[in-house]
Symmetry: C2
């Protein structure tokens, strides 16, 4: 129980999510309301997570934020929008008499520290996990309950999908004020225990167009994006939810690939065009199609976000063979022993017949490394005070020696 | 004047055309009727041409065809469709009494030899020039006049656009029998004398998906293709014709790039996806956009067909600088003196300021060579008997020593 002297401190973790029906383009830039609904898979925090500590104290003179150990500008509009929104919800809660007397005063300033356990170079949408974790942690420290979609969404649209585990739909909503643009769980993480996820980190020569700017240009210039959002995505959402409910892997996999390709098609239709896929990405796509053709069924799917890295979905019985095939086509250059991170995968041989069917010239180093993971739960509170990223003085703890 | 003893021999040339509004997908596979109208620029035959000789004689026992010196299977359905169609038109003409008494009998067999003056490796749509030349040459030898769109189209859809010089629209038509699916000149080759064309031949690691099979898969699987063909291309055609009529280069250039990107977007939306653009293609696109941004106006455009090679449009006052920029970003690896073929281009330096704006790391060998050309006329008859590819015996002449 917090004393009046030491700060109120809460530490939480939140997951990364990967969209299988893609979000691209806003109908409202200020409120971050999307052109279409999207649907994602929450990845397990054992492999990929953001950890955030929030502390509130009368002694703090201003709001401050540290990201991966470096202080950030707290005036960033999206950070401000999250803080404003959580304080609005806290105020509303208190005015309705639901207040927990232990929660801190709304006039007190907050310190926030956040770290990712994965390198930015992995090209994963760290902002989704980051803002979900911020929203969740602030809600705990301010004693706010209920749906946090709006708080997270104001930070980064897809962050609202990281508020839940398992399979999550971000419903676009219809209202102009965005109150119905919320995330909702389609199925919990326990629903499809065989599903596995591989992140293939691809060597990129240059930083791609950022997603915020990219989306804006797409909305302004791509007629195909508008058509996709209005006429095609609604049916994709319904079909994807069905595939998940029924654990229909081939259906899930095909639609995941088609939706990813269609999203990248709208990027290419943008002017000037946006290309997130590079030759290695396309080689991975070809590998997946040939692997599936060899097996006579869709056993593996790819999806790509705003960068060249592939996210692969498969089932537990196929993961070892597919990892072996990736290692065959993209032989590790230097880090053979560190090529595979995350879940353990038993090494298996690739048959000569499969190699011959793939008919792909090996490209050493094309894939830097693989992270093996699975579907996971939503944000978690860490009760261990040692987990706090902020010390009793409200400043980031020094990093423990590695 | 042909005697009754020696064969009737005619030799013609036909040009390559490059679509600026793309054709992709058939509504009728048999008649080769397109999903949408398309519009192309005819390239000059001084640089790129097909030459075809047709000979007819009572002494020939069967139809025979040689392509680049190698005998082809004359039973190929598309070759048969052209031969059938030209004989049908000749028969029709004779039945109406328009016959020239010198024209050979319809029961006589034909020998055809055809050569391209550009390597297949250039990835140019040789079938368009080839079937246009075949249609034009057969029409001459059979004494058929009038529009040959249907003859050429039955060989290869885009071949009908190579029947005219300058700027050509292939009108999709509405009729089920395809009689109104014809090529029509939008403006002659003399209309826009400043326009220049550069073909950037890109190193490709593997043969891409053929356009016939690619189109079929796209028609079957891409919702974006259907939408583009129905809802977007009609306005593109009208706008492109206006840009050409008014010699509006920035308008022409932007629409050319947008239409190319949209076509490749529909390829990516195909399942399994088709990728004709590789990292070098995308680098060329980026180079064009940065070059235009540096100049503050759209001075250069790219377009890509079913392969990684870029076709660049620019005006005569910009060609030398753009060639220099291509040489800067893609330094020739071995053939510095043979890097530029076709029209002469004065070497000019690239300013340090422009190099800095481009900010592109040179990729040696990414572009193999450049062909510089311009807008050109339609098919031509060669009167010189030395030009015949078939000898008096109706067989291909031996190749002259180089």
């Amino acid at each position: 129980m917090p004393s009046s002297k030491s700060p109120v401190v809460v530490t939480c973790t939140a997951p990364v999510n990967i969209a299988v029906i893609k979000y691209w383009g806003k109908r409202d830039e200020e409120l971050i309301l999307p052109l279409n609904s999207s649907l994602s898979v929450t990845l397990h925090q054992d492999q990929l997570r953001t950890t955030t500590t929030a502390a509130i104290s009368k002694d703090f003179s201003e709001d401050r934020v540290w990201l991966n150990g470096r202080e950030e500008d707290v005036e960033q509009p999206r950070l401000q929008a999250c803080l404003r929104e959580i304080r609005r919800l806290a105020r509303k809660r208190r005015s309705t008499g639901d207040e927990d007397p232990r929660t801190p005063s709304l006039s007190d300033r907050v310190h926030v520290a956040s770290v990712n356990n994965f390198p930015t170079a992995a090209g994963l949408a760290s902002s989704a996990a980051g803002f979900a974790c911020l929203a969740y942690t602030l809600a705990r420290v301010y004693g706010v309950e209920g749906d946090l979609s709006e708080v997270a969404r104001r930070g980064s649209g897809s962050a609202c999908r990281s508020l839940y585990g398992g399979f999550v739909e971000w419903q676009m909503g219809q209202r102009a004020d965005g109150k119905d643009s919320v995330a909702q769980q389609v199925a919990p993480e326990s629903h499809w225990p065989q599903l596995r996820v591989l992140i293939l980190v691809v060597s990129a020569e240059q930083k791609p167009v950022g997603s915020t700017a990219g989306m804006q240009t797409s909305v302004q210039t791509s007629a195909l994006l508008k058509f996709r959002a209005e006429a095609l995505v609604p049916a994709h959402i319904v079909e994807m939810a069905r595939c998940i409910q029924e654990q229909d892997f081939p259906g899930f996999a095909e639609l995941t690939m088609k939706d990813s390709n269609q999203f990248h098609a709208t990027c290419l239709d943008t002017f000037p065009p946006i290309s997130y896929l590079n030759d290695t990405s396309r080689r991975i796509m070809q590998l997946v199609h040939r692997f599936n053709a060899y097996h006579g069924q869709t056993k593996v799917a790819y999806t790509f976000d705003a960068g060249p890295n592939a996210v692969i979905f498969t089932l537990d019985d196929t993961m070892a063979e597919f990892v072996a095939v990736v290692r065959h086509v993209f032989p590790p250059e230097v880090n053979g022993d560190k090529f595979l991170k995350g879940l353990p995968v038993t090494p298996v041989p690739v048959s000569d017949e499969l190699k011959a069917t793939l008919a792909m010239e090996p490209v050493p180093g094309g894939v830097q490394y693989i992270i093996a993971t699975q579907v996971g739960p939503g944000p978690q509170v860490l009760d261990d005070p040692d987990a706090h990223l902020l010390g009793p003085d409200g400043l980031p703890k020094p990093k423990p020696a590695a």
